[in-house]
Structures are given as structure tokens and as C-alpha cells.
């Protein structure tokens, strides 16, 4: 994985020193909260429902064991013994003291980590495929391109005060495991006639106005990648609305201009920028690529003894095909039955770090589904790995099942939320585990957001739940038919909302209908698309 050079380290260290001084001045009363707020937000420090919250960037979800160990140590030393992995492959700490914040950033800097650009109207952490560098179906490892864009976007003076926040995702396979088209810019690296290039999708997003990004360019040469991204940003920075926060995202601009006109303006800007020579030297991309070479894979057993049924179901559900046939990527579920999606204790983080070192060439990935991946595990090592995970409560065999629920922090932690998300996730996973339906349902992606900002990706859930405030009471809207994958679609609301008990019953009803109506090989989303909304509405409200 990428290692900081002296410039990276100097930038991060300088930022820590700068923030330490800003925090000191705030504590001494030399800065008001109005003056300090934008400064702390630039360093990922929010003021949430119960305390300060620090969001730490995990570039394209990639960590090594030293970094994961540090994340666990921070949880124990400065927080209350745990952290929360987010839907953008980052981690958040919920109980941070302002007087500790600079020390935490300094600790992070010792392992080449930071919290800059995890808030504010700037280019946020670049996300990617959690199986990047390991998946059998990628045309190339997308992370060097994500890293190039990370370097380009870090402290970019022109894009530090955009109309709104800006999220970029880079993948390199037909399968979309990163919700690529629901980003402000989604980039897919493809191969055409033996040459690698990038497809650009611009103007996607969730939030209060969900949109699927249209393609604006079907092939950008990789030695023009940054220039094209710069052109997309420039048009947005110039014409994106700054008068209305709710209409300020690039998706609104692309929608209002029309994809064709937006693309025309981008192409015009692109032609202009090509003359300016803003693209970094190709040698820099080559230098970055050297950090992402394959570890020394060795031929070994391609199958494993599966007589233990619990182990077998974990292998079937929680491992993913690797590009080397003696290896798999193993998903560590942070969704134990009845647990809080995405939470991990300091001890669990240190365990995952040790397991990564022992079994996965020191590599870890964070998934946007709030789980963790060991990307390169020898098939022969799976029994030993599973035994340790099982022992630590990290062996839930539920990837992509109804128990693998994405849930935002909701009203239990978030000052923006209108309703709690986590208790629903806990109760639904308990209910379906108890009834034994989880396995029968197969792939079923359920996502819960506690407000319209959609951090829980409810628009993209096969089943989505949105918490709203109805006259001071929590109320939940159910939606069906969303997908964040290559068959991307936006979910539609079923009808009137439910209380907490009612929405759980509603989930049971729509899944029962699916089980009754599905044809051979159909997933929930396939059955929904075949039948349409009406029979589901009938089951819910009829």
C-alpha cells in the first residue's frame, strides 16, 4: 500500500501543529465557536449529540495492521473503547474531548493517517472497491488512481471551498461494489482495445434528492485522468449553487443543466486545461503504482475441509473470489446478531490487525457496508482464521444477507437525525436470525437512515428504511427496489410510514411475499422488479 513520502508527512505534521494551536486558542477564549467551527470541521472534528466526534480518513478503505492497531489504541486511550466504521470507509469516534483532539491527530500522523477533508465543502475521502487489488474480476487495481486523486485533491486551493461537499469513487470492474454511480464523480477504470482508460459518471448522490450519475465520458486516457476530473470540478465550482444549501450538490447542477450541456461545458474546460498542462507527470502515477504491487502469492490448496457446518456457511457467505486461486478475500462481519452495525472495540481492532498480519500480508480494507476485509487469505488458512474470528464474536456469516444491515448512527448519536436507526437494525437481525429465514432469503440488502441525508443509503436498499419525525414521534418510511450495484436503481416509498414495531412487521411481510412469489434463482430485488410495487403494497396496506 501507499507509503507517505517526506512531503505527505510534512503536510500532515504541519496540519497537526496548526490544529493544536487553533484548539489551544479556542480553549483560551481567543477564538469564538463561530471562528473555530470551520477550523475544527476541516480537521474532521464535529460536535455531535453527546460529545465531539472525530472522523478519521481511511483512503479508499485501505489500512495496514499498524494503522488498525493505532485506531484500536485511540478507541481505548481517548474514547470509550470503541469506534464506528462508516458508509464511506472511514471511522468515527463518538466521545472525543477537544483538549485531546490534537494529541489524537498527532498519534494518527505517526501511522500516516489524518482527519483532514473528512468534513466541509471540499473533496472528501476517495472511496473504492473493498476488494480492490484482490478481486478476480477487476481489470486493474483501482487504488493507484484513487491515490493519485487523493494527492491531487488534498489541500487543492481551488477546491477547498466548493458549493458543497464532494465525493469521488474509483472502481475497476463491471461489478460495482462501491455504489460508484451514487457519488458526485464515479470513475470506472476499463480496458478498451488493450488500453486502460476511465469512464466518468457525474452527478450522482443520495441525500434528500437521490440521483444516479449519468455517464459524461466513456473513455478518458489515464494520462489525462486528473485533468478531466479538474474540468468536472471547475464547471461545478463555477456554476454550482451557493445560495441554497439544498441545491448546492453537483447532482442538482447536472440535472438542471442537463447531462448533455454539463458535458459540453466540461469538454470545453477539458480542452482548455489540456493546453495548461495541469496533469501530473505520468512518472508520478508509475511511482504510486509501485506501492500497490501484488504480495508474494504462493500456490497452495484450492479447497478446504468443510465438515463443520458453521464454518462452511461462513465460507460460502463471507469469502470472495480472489484473482489467485489459492486465496480468497475474507469479510469480517461487524454485524453480530443484535449488534450495532459498524462498531468495533479497541480490542477487536487490534485482533483484526494481528489477523491481517498473520493471514493477509498485513492488508486490511474497510467496506462501505461497515464491515472489514482481509483481502488476501490463503484458502488453507481459512479454518484457523474463522476459529479466531468466531471466538472474538467477529464470525457472523451474514455478508449481503438481511442481517448485514447498513445503519447510520441515527438519533442515538447524530445531531441531524430525526429517528433512531440502530435499534431497528438490532431488532431486525435478531428477528430474522431467530426465525431462520436469513439463509432462505439469500442476497437482500437492507439499509436504514435516521434522516433524509441518507448516510444509511436507504435509497439504494433492496429494502430501505428512512426515519422521520412525525409530531415528535419516530416514524419510519419503507421503500423497495433500490440498488447501489451495477444494476443501480433508486428505491420507491411503499406508502404511509410505520412506528418502530410496525416497520419491522412490514419488513417481515415484504420478505414473506418474496419467498412466496419468487421464481428459481431470483433475488428479492429481481422479484420486486418483476412484480412491481403493487403486490407489496397490497401485502402491507391491503
Amino acid at each position: 500500500m501507499y507509503a507517505y513520502d517526506q512531503y505527505d508527512q510534512q503536510m500532515v505534521d504541519a496540519r497537526v501543529a496548526e490544529f493544536r494551536d487553533q484548539a489551544r486558542r479556542r480553549l483560551e477564549g481567543k477564538l469564538t465557536e463561530d471562528q473555530f467551527k470551520p477550523l475544527r470541521l476541516m480537521n474532521g472534528l464535529y460536535l455531535q449529540l453527546h460529545a465531539y466526534m472525530l472522523r478519521v480518513a481511511i483512503p479508499y478503505g485501505t489500512l495496514n495492521s499498524r494503522q488498525m492497531t493505532m485506531l484500536g489504541d485511540i478507541a481505548d486511550r481517548y474514547d470509550r473503547g470503541y469506534g464506528h466504521f462508516t458508509t464511506r470507509q472511514n471511522i468515527q469516534y463518538n466521545w472525543i474531548k477537544l483538549e485531546d483532539a490534537a494529541d489524537i491527530l498527532a498519534d494518527l500522523a505517526t501511522v500516516e493517517m489524518h482527519a483532514t477533508q473528512t468534513s466541509g465543502n471540499c473533496i472528501r475521502n476517495i472511496s473504492s472497491d473493498h476488494f480492490a487489488g484482490a478481486a478476480h474480476d477487476e481489470v486493474v487495481d483501482p487504488r493507484p488512481y484513487a491515490e493519485l486523486l487523493r494527492q491531487w485533491s488534498s489541500f487543492h486551493p481551488e477546491f477547498s471551498y466548493l458549493p458543497r461537499k464532494f465525493k469521488i469513487c474509483v472502481i475497476a470492474s463491471e461489478k460495482d461494489r462501491a455504489a460508484m454511480r451514487l457519488h458526485d464523480i464515479g470513475i470506472r477504470i476499463i480496458e478498451r482495445d488493450g488500453e486502460l482508460g476511465a469512464q466518468f459518471f457525474v452527478g450522482g448522490g443520495m441525500g434528500r434528492t437521490p440521483m444516479i450519475a449519468p455517464m459524461v465520458r466513456d473513455f478518458v486516457a489515464l494520462d489525462q485522468l486528473v485533468t478531466y476530473a479538474e474540468a468536472c470540478l471547475r464547471v461545478y465550482n463555477r456554476y454550482g449553487r451557493r445560495d441554497n444549501k439544498y441545491k448546492a450538490r453537483i447532482k442538482i447542477l447536472v440535472h438542471e443543466l442537463g447531462a448533455e450541456e454539463y458535458t459540453r461545458q466540461v469538454e470545453e474546460e477539458f480542452a482548455h486545461l489540456l493546453e495548461q498542462g495541469v496533469e501530473p507527470p505520468f512518472a508520478e502515477l508509475e511511482r504510486i503504482r509501485t506501492f500497490f504491487t501484488d504480495p508474494p502469492f504462493e500456490d497452495d490448496a484450492k479447497s478446504v475441509e468443510r465438515s463443520d457446518p458453521d464454518f462452511a456457511v461462513w465460507v460460502d457467505r463471507n469469502t470472495h473470489r480472489h484473482k489467485h486461486d489459492a486465496y480468497v478475500s475474507a469479510v469480517i462481519s461487524l454485524k453480530p446478531v443484535g449488534g450495532i452495525p459498524g462498531d468495533a472495540t479497541g480490542e477487536q481492532m487490534r485482533l483484526m490487525a494481528r489477523l491481517a498480519k498473520q493471514y493477509s500480508f498485513d492488508e486490511i480494507r474497510v467496506m462501505h457496508t461497515q464491515n472489514v476485509v482481509l483481502p488476501h487469505v490463503r484458502i488453507a488458512d481459512l479454518p484457523a482464521l474463522w476459529a479466531e474470528l468466531h471466538e472474538a464474536g467477529l464470525g457472523a456469516p451474514n455478508m449481503d444477507t438481511i442481517e448485514d444491515i447498513i445503519a447510520c448512527p441515527g438519533l442515538d448519536y447524530c445531531s441531524l437525525a430525526n429517528a433512531r436507526s440502530i435499534p431497528l437494525a438490532q431488532r431486525i437481525s435478531e428477528r430474522f436470525d431467530k426465525s431462520g429465514k436469513t439463509g432462505k432469503l439469500g442476497e437482500l440488502k437492507l439499509k436504514i437512515s435516521g434522516c433524509i441525508n441518507a448516510c444509511g443509503h436507504h435509497h439504494a436498499g433492496h429494502i430501505g428504511i428512512l426515519g422521520v419525525d412525525k409530531k415528535g414521534k419516530e416514524n419510519y418510511q419503507l421503500s423497495l427496489g433500490g440498488s447501489e450495484a451495477e444494476d443501480v436503481s433508486l428505491a420507491k416509498i411503499t406508502g404511509p410510514g410505520f412506528d418502530e414495531d410496525g416497520v419491522i412487521e412490514a419488513v417481515e411481510k415484504v420478505t414473506d411475499l418474496y419467498l412466496a412469489q419468487r421464481t428459481e434463482g431470483e433475488r428479492f430485488i429481481d422479484t420486486y422488479r418483476r412484480l412491481g410495487m403493487e403486490p407489496f403494497k397490497e401485502a402491507l396496506y391491503g
Binding site: 479556542r26 449529540l49 460529545a51 463518538n94 442515538d412
Partner: protein
């Protein structure tokens, strides 16, 4: 009643105005009536509280103070999904009070 809440500047902890100081316990909150703006301005200037605001609440028959909105009740108790991290980890009825 109208009560004041905010966060401690150093720790970020949720605090409530008692008439003399800022407490972690909502039950110690007092009705500030029309004096909310004046108290908040003075206390924020003195850095004894961060981003204070006034909310509606009721004092119940048993003496407990109950904020009108669920968001402030969650703030007063702590996350409902982690009873061990709330101010009343031993009270099984605390969650009912929030909802």
C-alpha cells in the same frame, strides 16, 4: 418550563443550566423563563458552555425534568443502544423515559 442546555467546551459533554452552574444531570435544570438569552450570552462568553440553546421541558410529578423533544431526551440520557454508556446504566426504565 424553559431550560438551557449546551456542551462543555473542553469535553463536549451535554450539560444543563442549574441556575448556578452547568450540570450533567437534566433533573437539576431550572426554569429560566425570559432570561435565556442573557444567561447564554454570559456563560458562553465565559467559556463555561459551548453552543447553548433553550428548550421546552416539563417537571414531572416525581420531580424529574423531561425535555419536550426526543432528541434532547437522548442527549440527556445517552445513546439508547449503549445503556452502559448512559448516565443511568443500572436503570432498566431509563430507555422508556426517552421514548
Amino acid at each position: 418550563m424553559r431550560i438551557l442546555t449546551g456542551n462543555d467546551l473542553k469535553t463536549g459533554a451535554v450539560v444543563w443550566w442549574t441556575g448556578e452552574f452547568w450540570s450533567l444531570h437534566v433533573d437539576e435544570a431550572v426554569d429560566v423563563g425570559e432570561r435565556a438569552e442573557e444567561i447564554m450570552a454570559a456563560e458562553e462568553a465565559a467559556r463555561r458552555v459551548n453552543v447553548p440553546y433553550a428548550i421546552e421541558a416539563t417537571r414531572e410529578d416525581d420531580g424529574h425534568v423531561r425535555p419536550a423533544h426526543i432528541k434532547d431526551r437522548v442527549r440527556a440520557l445517552g445513546p439508547t443502544v449503549r445503556p452502559d454508556l448512559t448516565l443511568k446504566p443500572q436503570d432498566p426504565e431509563a430507555l422508556d423515559w426517552v421514548i
